[in-house]
Symmetry: C2
Subunit: 210 residues, 2 copies
């Protein structure tokens, strides 16, 4: 009789995989992706190193899985904030950005690892994919805002990308320096930047000519 | 007598190194960093493969050198636009961003390689370094604008980072898709986003409450 994986075996494998990924995420929160050691991870996950490599044949594959797991959580948070429909759309966008930024500055090493740390090309590719996901969520919100008349006409795809780039880059500084200097102000200013960009009247090149 | 490198030898080595880097940049403009093949590069640079590896022991080192060479040119362009002092500061910033964006969309594969292509961690680290350089230039311009009264009060360090993030991310879309669909509009909209962000009055959360 050929070997057939039972549901129970599949479940146990899934549980082991999850343990490895969540344990790895804890290690990433302490030392980034570059601080992640396979031997230490195996020990802390309670599996043999050989077992770890059966689940993740390379560190790149492991890091990509950890990146995806952690980023899915952040995307879900943004999505939830944007869908709170009792508020108007500019405020929903501001709330989503604030949630993203606040979570990032509360776990600066993790945020740095997810957003900017020099990592393997596989993880960089996953970053691009998830930035598309974020941008897609904001693009929908901006389009809804335009339709509802609470945001001025604009190219929602471009605005949403610019929004994601602005917020990520503005936060890399404080994250990079592990600076806790007034993170609230950094967040407030970054959100202001984004909100001014999407709500303001087009800047006229002649307006402030001197 | 110990071997001593003469000026002439040094100059020749420098010239060979430059030939390799500029030839590599041409190849990157065709197929990105991942399309760059050491053997092909040696052939097109007119050096033996062994010689190429004496100059650049690994592809990562070569890619980092090419990245730095190409990005220095872009940084110099931005710097020059910002220093044109006969114009007011918001316009100088708009011109610098326009120059950056226009050059990027004219050489989309190169721009994609420099800004976003999944590459080795060494090149990702160089990207972070150069984003600091760009942000530093814009931070100075914004600070000058605030001092001159042509820009409202704001944290120039955060605004400049957000600016760099916004313009880079807004352009990744068109670059990624090698889309030539209305690049002028994409550029104009991205610049508008940035200019509104730094020139507008702070967005008040209650302004558009409904």
């Amino acid at each position: 009789m050929a070997y057939r994986e039972t549901d129970r075996v599949r479940e146990r494998k899934q549980a082991t995989r999850e343990t490895i990924v969540t344990t790895a995420l804890t290690l990433v929160s302490e030392g980034g992706f570059n601080g992640l050691q396979m031997a230490q991870l195996a020990r802390q996950s309670g599996v043999a190193t050989g077992t770890l490599y059966r689940y993740f044949p390379s560190k790149e594959e492991l890091c990509t899985a950890v990146f995806e797991y952690a980023t899915e959580i952040e995307v879900a948070q943004v999505q939830q904030q944007l869908q709170e429909s009792q508020q108007n759309i500019p405020e929903a966008i501001a709330n989503a950005l604030t949630t993203f930024a606040t979570r990032a500055l509360k776990a600066p090493t993790t945020a740095w690892a997810l957003i900017a740390e020099p990592v393997a090309p596989e993880v960089v590719a996953a970053r691009l994919h998830y930035r598309e996901r974020y941008a897609g969520l904001f693009a929908q919100a901006i389009a809804d805002g335009i339709a509802a008349g609470s945001l001025p006409e604009q190219d929602s795809n471009l605005s949403s990308r610019a929004l994601v780039g602005a917020i990520a880059e503005a936060l890399i500084g404080p994250l990079a320096q592990h600076s806790s200097a007034a993170p609230e102000q950094a967040i407030a200013h970054s959100i202001q930047f984004c909100l001014q960009a999407i709500t303001a009247k087009p800047y006229s090149m002649t307006r402030s000519s001197s």
